[in-house]
Symmetry: C2
Subunit: 336 residues, 2 copies
Amino acid sequence: MDKIRIMQWGFGAMGSGMVELISKKSTMELVAVYDKREEYRGKKVSDILKGVNLDVEIVDDPLNILDNKKIDVVIMATSSFVKDVTDDIISVVKKGVNVISIAEEMAYPWISNKDLSQKMHDEALKHKVSIVGTGINPGFVLDALIIMMTGVCKRVDRIEASRINDLSPFGPTVMETQGVGITPGEFEDGLKKGTIVGHIGFPQSISLIANVMGIELDEIKEVREPIISKTKRETKYVKVDPGMVAGCKHIGYGIKDGKKVITLIHPQQIKPEIENIETGDYINIYGDPDIKLSIKPECPGGIGTIATAVNTVPLIVEAKPGLLSILDLPLLRIAN
Amino acid sequence: MDKIRIMQWGFGAMGSGMVELISKKSTMELVAVYDKREEYRGKKVSDILKGVNLDVEIVDDPLNILDNKKIDVVIMATSSFVKDVTDDIISVVKKGVNVISIAEEMAYPWISNKDLSQKMHDEALKHKVSIVGTGINPGFVLDALIIMMTGVCKRVDRIEASRINDLSPFGPTVMETQGVGITPGEFEDGLKKGTIVGHIGFPQSISLIANVMGIELDEIKEVREPIISKTKRETKYVKVDPGMVAGCKHIGYGIKDGKKVITLIHPQQIKPEIENIETGDYINIYGDPDIKLSIKPECPGGIGTIATAVNTVPLIVEAKPGLLSILDLPLLRIAN
């Protein structure tokens, strides 16, 4: 069988991880890498990724490459938001190429940007290709896996799930958007100003789950609270004294008739183990039967996003055309 | 949208549970029930299932019904083995109707009966309908869920999973096929004679997983050991004294180059809690990353099989034609 020919669009932490993984997959071939950063001009993958023997140049003219080389799938790892990726996605779709995006909002783009989603869907249908958003979360832990587990249930009344993870490996940007290392008052200010965002993806995950449950929600509500440290915590990038903020506890609710039918809880902090907090993914489904699932430690965020995106490649090649979601694809599985 | 019209084929413990569940699904309509047992002649569903207000007769001429009523899906709950269900499945397929089977071997029928599988596949293609095997196990816990979790992995080296459950609710037939209530010597004799079978489905689950991992196994090996009770255990149907057999520990291995790359462990016994054994489903994937998932207590067997079969109904209606497996269907989810 012919190898699936891939262009990596975006060569940051996630994109370069994907390139490395693609290089190990016998059914895939990396044909091109696009990144707009000046420092990559004239560089090859092997110049940047030590140990990856790939003679592929990092280019700044992706559409030209798409015109001149046969490419089956573009994996796009740039922004988190539909409004920032739509134009790029449509430009690829118009070349007749499938797109996998790890933009969090692309997990279910209809909820944040209906018109842009319709536009992407129409173009995908016209050019007979597929677009899908994926990633570890949204895309897997707090939606796809929950949905899969509803499949063994006769009835689902209510879902509560949490993902408790460790932010310690992340750099300054994540510390800022999660409010780590500041005072509770500064945290409140950051929420008001919109500089502290917590997790991106709750409306998407909650909408996917509600669809499956056959519920039209009255409201999706999000609450962000500071995780105030009782102890001294420290990483390479940030110091937290007792009384300061160690992270953001972000909760999303799907509400119907005044009841919280879907509750997704995602506290993200540095060094949770100092306060004896066990990281993990926890899914509780209340219905017939009740299901209590846990993954300890949690599915790792970075590796998980890289893996889900690359593992989606064989699935999108076979998928029906259109702007799809994880609900439209076959059972996710490791690609070879 | 039109309701999906269903015929239930087989009205035993599983089939009657499915009928009850279908009666609660707003997108489905139960059109007919077939069971060959004489005691059901002239009876309606509501005569047998108290509380289910269904005026559907239990008939003995299913093919006649398929000729005269529009039916979209037959759910077949009769035997465990491909050789016993193939003729029935093909008779339904020839009427242009999709089939969901809970026969354990149908989870991946190619491994036990290649020729019969090819025959089913050809007929399904000819008549543009789909056939799929499902159930809690095989069909979910020790295959589909494992496969889904490989989707967050960059690399999978080895899989070990176990399903520890409680046989206490089951009747005399299950006690006999699992060897409960006999001596270790009688257990050995039962294994030799083939009256003690343990779990049906390991070759199917192991083959599905190996396919996904891209491995051609050298051997699938099964080991059945008596679980010898240290305590007195008792159910409605069976008594077990210390030193006697409380159940069957059945292990399946998928072996490649002398290594057990897939190990599935399924100890089934009565009253495990007496010896402080916690029931549950446990999945360990060793690779990058390692994944440790647990479901406690285990996904219940009966309810889970009923639910997965009924929840597969909307998926099979939309599926491509042919003899399919869980690998070909979209993400399982609760049906409405």
